[in-house]
């Protein structure tokens, strides 16, 4: 069925693209169009880098012109002034852009949104000023002349050769972009864009990914600059102003951010606009600014989004699909057990303390969760439960004490390292990635197994065949265990709240964890839905999973848990079976504020 594999025709598309590229120099009505084709090809390469950076990973760069300039000068100067051959100068330009990309990536690693935009803006400005003033090296605004062209010694066909090289580079980069968008890499970047703490808890090293993406986009901008330098044979610092960075952003935005086809469309529109406004250059900036405003305010999904919007109604008519039914699946109890190779492990918290600016949130908290049990953590509002769970997950660093997961001490490990060792968590306010389907969200949790991903998957993908079937099957098995397999291809936004809770549970389960950390799994659900979740959790426990949950719903906690730890004012005031805890005077006092017992404080309370 074609809807099952929309990429079936992809190899045909690539073949057509290759034929078009090969024939373009002869098809073009005049040499100007060959030149335009060159400009389109290398500009699109830079825009693809920006689309992956901004559209997929959500990082803003206002300084792509800086990387473009470094690539251009790196190759042009070594080839012209030092006489390097092009096969050496061009990789050198790429290397230079990449190195500077890593350096600026350090800023990206430490900063977010606004700061990164500011740092990249300043970077682009610094490079431009350097290019203007380092006249000995760059020729400044007067420019560097006689940069060798990509003519392979055949000067008369230089235009065609240059075009073919630029277009071949674009095809390869586009292939890479398509792969990123349709593989686990794209899913991971989307997760990082929407929620960094979520990405960490499924085991992603967010810093590494952010720097990596930043460097990749710098490399692509550098590659575009290199091709530009050898296209024109003349490089002036005027080419690398902030206007170039903005133009690249305009192309990415007009095309449609976050779609792999966006850059091609956007660059085509940009090149066309640039030709048109050449005649209106006095109001060029007004046109650019106006386009930027019009697209972002009126059609933020860009040209690709508009096309998709035009096509979607037809698709919907062809595949009528009912809205997900309300209520919870009744069938959880009859589903097959969840797949997974690991038995549950233990979790031990020893002497954990944490304070914020003098306010003590946790004081000497110790408890242990036995393997294969459901352990509840309860306490009145402000008792320190959230702080505790974040310290256990590794999102907060405790001031004192240690956390042990199975055999490992994890106290000094980051959240993503803990996730790798087998700690999965769900969030109180759901953290599902809205741009992904249910099954893709679950696949984020999966660990790669032998035979998945890698070269073979890539080859299958290039051939237009399904390339993630094993992963999908595993994710589907997890969904099936929770009786929601039929929702696999929906997006989270289409599901009722209770189902979304189950999806988040499925994602945590897909991590095949030693310990599952569930933050308020039934908050906001009605009692029927809560019962279904309880059934699901009981089945998980019976299959050997260890579960630590934080919950306010007492009926749920007491009916489900094997052991309950009660926290009040940052101290453990009880740690016992549900029955014993319900009768505990200190617990009753903490919840009801009885007057005959003093409010528990640090001196009175003792850790069990």
């Amino acid at each position: 069925m074609s809807a099952q594999n929309p990429r079936r025709l992809a190899p045909l598309g690539w073949l057509l693209a290759i034929i078009l590229v090969a024939a373009w120099p002869s098809l073009a009505p005049n040499p100007f169009f060959v030149h335009l084709g060159q400009t389109f090809a290398y500009t699109a390469i830079a825009v693809i880098g920006l689309n992956i950076l901004l559209g997929l990973s959500g990082q803003m760069s206002l300084g792509q012109a800086g990387f473009y300039a470094i690539g251009a000068y790196g190759s042009a100067i070594t080839a012209t002034s030092f006489g390097w051959p092009l096969w050496l100068s061009m990789p050198f330009g790429l290397l230079a852009a990449g190195l500077v990309g890593v350096l600026l990536g350090l800023v990206a690693l430490r900063t977010r949104g606004l700061y990164l935009a500011m740092a990249t803006l300043a970077f682009g400005f610094i490079v431009e000023i350097w290019a203007q003033r380092a006249v000995d090296l760059t020729g400044g605004t007067m420019g560097l002349f006689g940069v060798p062209q990509l003519d392979f010694g055949d000067f008369r066909n230089a235009a065609a050769y240059t075009f073919w090289i630029c277009a071949a580079a674009l095809l390869l980069v586009q292939l890479g972009s398509d792969w990123v968008f349709s593989s686990g890499t794209g899913r991971k970047l989307r997760a990082i864009k929407e929620s960094e703490s979520f990405a960490q808890t499924v085991g992603l090293n967010v810093s590494l990914w952010r720097t990596g993406v930043f460097t990749a986009s710098a490399l692509l901008a550098g590659l575009a600059g290199i091709l530009f330098a050898h296209q024109s044979g003349f490089v002036s610092s005027d080419a690398f102003s902030i206007r170039l960075s903005i133009a690249l952003l305009i192309a990415a935005v007009i095309g449609g951010l976050g779609d792999t086809r966006g850059p091609l469309l956007g660059t085509a529109i940009l090149v066309a606009i640039a030709e048109v406004i050449a005649g209106f250059h006095t109001i060029g900036l007004i046109i650019y600014g106006g386009i930027l405003l019009a697209v972002l305010l009126l059609v933020p999904e860009g040209a690709v989004g508009m096309l998709r919007g035009a096509i979607r109604p037809m698709r919907r008519a062809a595949h009528p699909s009912p809205i997900a039914e309300a209520g919870m699946p009744q069938a959880v109890a009859t589903r097959p057990p969840p797949p997974g190779t690991r038995r549950g492990g233990s979790l031990e918290v020893v002497g954990l303390s944490k304070s914020y600016a003098g306010v003590v949130a946790l004081r000497d908290v110790s408890f242990s969760v036995a393997p294969g049990t459901i352990h509840a953590l309860i306490g009145p509002n402000g008792a320190g439960k959230s702080t505790l769970i974040n310290c256990v997950a590794g999102l907060y660093r405790a001031d004192m004490g240690s956390v042990h997961l199975g055999q490992d001490e994890v106290t000094s490990l980051s959240a993503h390292q803990r996730a790798w060792l087998g700690l999965a968590r769900s969030f109180q306010n759901l953290q599902l990635i809205s741009g992904l389907t249910v099954i893709e969200n679950v696949m984020l949790g999966l660990r790669r197994q032998a035979g998945e991903g890698g070269i073979r998957a890539m080859m299958r993908w290039v051939a237009g065949l399904p390339h993630e079937e094993q992963e999908r099957a595993r994710a589907l098995a997890v969904l099936d265990a929770l009786a929601i397999a039929h929702l696999a291809d929906r997006t989270p936004a289409q599901l009722p709240y209770g189902h979304r809770k189950l999806v988040e549970l499925a994602r945590a389960l897909a991590q095949d964890p030693l310990v599952m950390l569930l933050d308020e799994p039934v908050a906001g659900l009605n009692s029927l839905e809560a019962q279904q979740i309880a059934t699901a959790l009981r089945r998980l426990r019976d299959s050997g999973k260890t579960i630590l949950l934080v919950e306010h719903n007492m009926e749920f906690v007491m009916g489900l848990s094997d052991r309950v730890t009660v926290l009040d004012h940052g101290v453990v005031i009880a740690d016992n079976t549900p029955l014993a805890v319900q009768g505990d005077k200190k617990v009753i006092a903490a919840y009801l504020g009885a007057e005959d017992t003093e409010a528990p404080n640090s001196e009175k309370a003792t850790a069990p």
Binding site: L121, A122, L249, T282, G289, G290, P300
Partner: protein
């Protein structure tokens, strides 16, 4: 470098630093309340410089010219928020433009502004007449050292404007509303604060600060349609030194930035002006929350 030389450089640095501070305050207040800033803040400053140049050139008395420029810029700040920033709220953060679309829309307005000024006043650099003294090079002697009177008065005026801004922020009802909205817009609405109007007023205030900066900077530099970018960059750098959160940090950071720039320029006339920027970028790596800022973890 002689001592005289050093002190004169210091004064020049403080004058530019005070302008950077004032411009950065506009970024600070917008960021405080909306987590967004005007990436065309420098271009608003540029527009104010040209407007004040034109108003004074047309023979308006200085106070009238100042008021007129402030009114025009207030309207621009209002329009920016109303038509280029607020409409983005319709789209969630997950949508294509993403949570950072405001960077591009405010930059888009900046481009339009540059082009408009270019069309009206031309592309070439212009010299603004002095505001407070009768000649641009009016020197007064304090002890053995000569100072440009204009520079000294501009420092005073800029610092007075910073003081006025602080008074508005910390001593008036408006300032309390701003901080309440910054803390939590929903809670502010429950307190009966008109959140939407407060947000608009913040963008107007940011534009007013750009207006005052633009008027004051005219006599210190040459004025041209593309001067804005560098002021945007430097104001962003100064605001980030204070972590976009600490008003005193921005004042100290701004003055230090101006002085460092003046001294670096003297030291290395070719690339000196870039040193403070490189320093700030290095600081972002070492202490991303700003020298004078506080760190916050991203936990939901």
């Amino acid at each position: 470098m002689t001592l005289t030389n050093f002190i004169q450089l210091l004064v020049t640095g403080v004058a530019m630093g005070a302008i950077y501070t004032l411009t950065a305050k506009g970024l600070f207040i917008a960021h405080l309340t909306t987590n967004r800033v005007n990436f065309g803040q420098g271009d608003f400053l540029m527009a104010a410089s040209f407007l004040s140049l034109a108003a004074i050139g047309a023979g308006l008395p200085l106070p009238v010219a100042i008021v007129a420029v402030i009114i025009v810029l207030s309207l621009m700040g209002w329009g920016l928020e109303r038509f280029a920033v607020r409409p983005l709220d319709r789209f969630g953060a997950g949508r294509a433009g993403g949570a950072l679309a405001w960077i591009l829309t405010t930059a888009g307005v900046a481009l339009i502004l540059q082009n408009t000024v270019e069309l009206i006043w031309g592309k070439s650099s212009q010299y603004s007449p002095p505001l407070f003294s009768d000649r641009r090079d009016n020197v007064i002697m304090i002890g053995q050292i000569g100072f440009f009177l204009e520079e000294l008065l501009i420092i005073l005026a800029a610092l007075a404007a910073v003081g006025g801004f602080w008074w508005a922020l910390f001593r008036t009802r408006w300032g309390r509303d701003v901080y309440t909205v910054a803390f939590n817009p929903d809670a502010a609405a429950l307190f009966g604060i008109d959140v939407r109007r407060t947000v608009t007023s913040v963008w107007v205030m940011a534009a007013i600060l750009a207006a005052i900066s633009g008027i004051l900077v005219g006599p210190l530099v040459t004025v041209h349609p593309h001067m804005g970018l560098i002021f945007t960059i430097k104001a962003l750098a100064v605001a980030s030194l204070g972590g976009f959160a600490n008003p005193l940090g921005i004042l100290v950071g701004g003055i230090l930035f101006g002085v460092a720039e003046a001294l670096a320029n003297y030291w290395d006339s070719k690339y000196g002006d870039l040193y403070p920027l490189l320093f700030v970028m290095a600081m972002l790596v070492l202490k991303p929350s700003g020298i004078f800022g506080e760190s916050k973890a991203d936990v939901r």
